[in-house]
Subunit: 417 residues, 2 copies
């Protein structure tokens, strides 16, 4: 498996966007453009859907200087999708189509950049192509702000979201304490099943300017405990800042957000069900028990696309992951995902390794119980030690007129030529 | 009025925080510390409430190097308040107390940093002290993200909030377009009566990555027109990004947010009224008419305290306003607010001027009708020309461990010494 394979390369982006998804694509594309064995560099419009629909961009036609702006451009320049391939033993329609398109463009290198669903897509395509004797090296490039991929120390995208969350928490902490009248502020942070993002708020607490209470979905949430925690701190400090994961559930597995979304009752003047945000619902509920000024704040999707505050470390590692995938594929690797490990020693250094796609697909990595305090409402030092290196360094984003200068690609379709 | 007056100086911060409120305080404090005529530099804890409660910090005891961090520290290091003084002809209790405290500390220079309510406070105190023969120079320093103060070109705080809003709009624009499935995203931006902040989203549109529709509170909002606008653009582009001011009202003067907060109907499982955000309510309402993925995003108070993305221009101008207030008072000015005007000529240059407090107190400046397009759903070039210079330049905020290094003052109370 070490012979050099000649042919075209295709990269697709998949799933929820991040601040550094394009940095990974750039790492892969720039390494591909530099390789003598890669005849063409293509990008799929909206991930695997672009393959199925024959919507393929010719990245060779882009100006390399403009491509370079991708490193600091958030979201996805190619477009992503949420499309789950069926098992090809059940229905191979999509796979036949993929093989046709790969054959049409002589695609011998396929890179898919996404989360665990995308690694599943990758793994299935790899197996199908192998079974049909079509030689193609299929590689996964990790990406998710949720940081929940298995068998990797962390995921590109997480450090930038964590930096945004920690910084915003510090700023909100300053803001929330401005009056002498007391307040309870609840912050809602992304992460349905894994609490990595919510835990990142503890980096602000580590600086003395963060949430007093942090609730992750890893542990059952109890409303009575929550009220007791908030009451105790409000009486002591006159101010409480709380961070909750959007995905907190009670001991019966019911989403806490569902408590507040009784669709049979809550409708607006037009009869349309109102889906209250968890943060404002919890803040409102606290207000029924504690007479204080309350506020709910949802970080919403800004937390995943705030490229202006991306972590320099995250950007470089994301780029590295894309480049490492390309270089490993050139060397013969296939059916693997590039993963991260830390170099031994005190100082943080991130190294890449290759893991089997099957060992990542559809798995979820949670925050270890021993990194959460005993009461289940705060983070411990091992988490800080883990996360702090990931948010170091600033973005190289260029500003024009005081605003971000993002990549502006031509995105020429192969069909249009 | 040009003789040098010797005595102590007191500065208070008031109202909602901004990213540059502390920059103004620093401009004033540093100039005061440098003056031979100012014997002491005090800061009031929580504005005028600190005066009334004799909670006064001795700023002379702070390390100047630590004070310097105030320039890039958001919110208010002294604390603010929302406290409206009564007319002293009706009830002079508070005024007597203020005169006692001013006499106790020999305060001959008083600076109040806030919005139009604070200028009202300033104006009343000035009149009372004058009437009682207590010589004190009373100066207002403007501050409000709302940019709604009269008789000034713009207000410190606005440029930074505008830069945050425009940048976030660009990032959300990139994020919202990531799938090929279409979406309608509604952004809710601060500003109850004046639309300056919501208009700032047009700076993103100017860069080709901003809201398609922008609704300010200056014009009556019509739900049917909104749906027609959104439908038309959704059918054309498959994606619609909308920015609305939190304060939009219909032609009868009813807040649109009130449409969606029918308290008799909307309750959660605990019977507590749910106050849905305007953004998600409007997005939800659009969804009853248009079959699309919808999302509401509230910029919430992050838009007023995101110091990491403050405008360098705004920071310098805020500092200048504080310094100019101190220098003007030393020269004999009183009962004035420092205001901004633009230097003549093509290139942007901000100059200060002095305006009577009475010409600012309790007044509101709206966005001119001629800067809004005819349909009332977008901004025109004169607004861009006005706002773009205000968001130029970056903050000098220092990072430690990848996170902001904010000012950490000793805040020693005069009483505690």
């Amino acid at each position: 498996m070490t012979e050099k394979l000649s042919g075209a390369c295709l990269i697709g982006q998949s799933g929820g966007p991040t601040s550094v998804l394009n940095a990974s694509a750039l790492g892969c594309i720039e390494a591909a453009l530099a390789s003598d064995h890669i005849t063409k560099v293509y990008g799929a419009a909206h991930g695997i859907k672009g393959v199925l629909n024959d919507r393929i961009y010719d990245m060779t036609l882009e100006d390399p200087a403009e491509l370079a702006f991708m490193k600091y451009t958030p979201s996805s320049v190619l477009g992503t999708c949420r499309y789950k391939l069926r098992d090809f033993l059940v229905d191979d329609t999509d796979y036949k189509r993929i093989l046709d398109i790969f054959t049409k463009y002589d695609i011998r290198y396929f890179f898919y950049n996404g989360g665990n669903d995308s690694m599943d897509t990758c793994s299935k395509i790899s197996a199908y192509l192998l079974q049909h004797g079509y030689e193609c090296r299929v590689m996964g490039i990790p990406k998710t702000i949720d940081n929940d991929l298995a068998n990797t120390d962390h995921c590109p995208g997480y450090g930038s979201a964590a930096k945004y969350i920690a910084t915003s928490c510090m700023e909100i902490y300053r803001d929330a304490k401005v009056y002498d009248t007391g307040s309870i502020t609840v912050l809602e942070i992304m992460g349905r099943n894994a609490g990595w993002l919510t835990a990142a708020s503890a980096l602000a607490s580590y600086k003395g300017m963060g949430p007093d209470l942090i609730y992750l979905p890893e542990l059952p949430f109890d409303l009575a405990d929550f009220i007791a925690d908030v009451t105790r701190l409000y009486e002591k400090n006159g101010d409480v800042l709380v961070a909750v994961s959007e995905g907190i559930k009670d001991k019966d597995g019911t989403y806490v957000s569902a408590y507040f979304n009784d669709l049979s009752k809550g409708t607006d003047a037009f009869g349309h069900a109102r889906m209250g945000g968890l943060a404002s619902s919890l803040a409102g509920f606290a207000n029924t028990k504690i007479d204080a000024k309350v506020r709910g704040i949802e970080f919403s999707l800004i937390q995943r696309c705030a490229a202006h505050l991306a972590s320099g470390t995250d950007i470089e590692e994301a780029y590295l992951a894309g480049k490492a995938a390309l270089l490993a594929a050139l060397e013969g690797a296939t059916d693997k995902m590039v993963a991260f490990k830390r170099a031994p020693g005190k100082d943080y250094e991130c190294l890449t390794k290759l893991v089997d796609l099957a060992d990542v697909a559809n798995l979820e990595k949670k925050v270890p119980r021993e990194w959460i305090n005993e009461s289940g409402n705060g983070m411990l030092q091992p988490f800080i030690d883990y996360a702090l290196p990931l948010i170091q360094g600033e973005t190289g984003l260029v500003k024009e007129d005081g605003l971000p200068r993002f990549a502006n690609l031509k995105k020429i379709m192969t069909r249009e030529r």
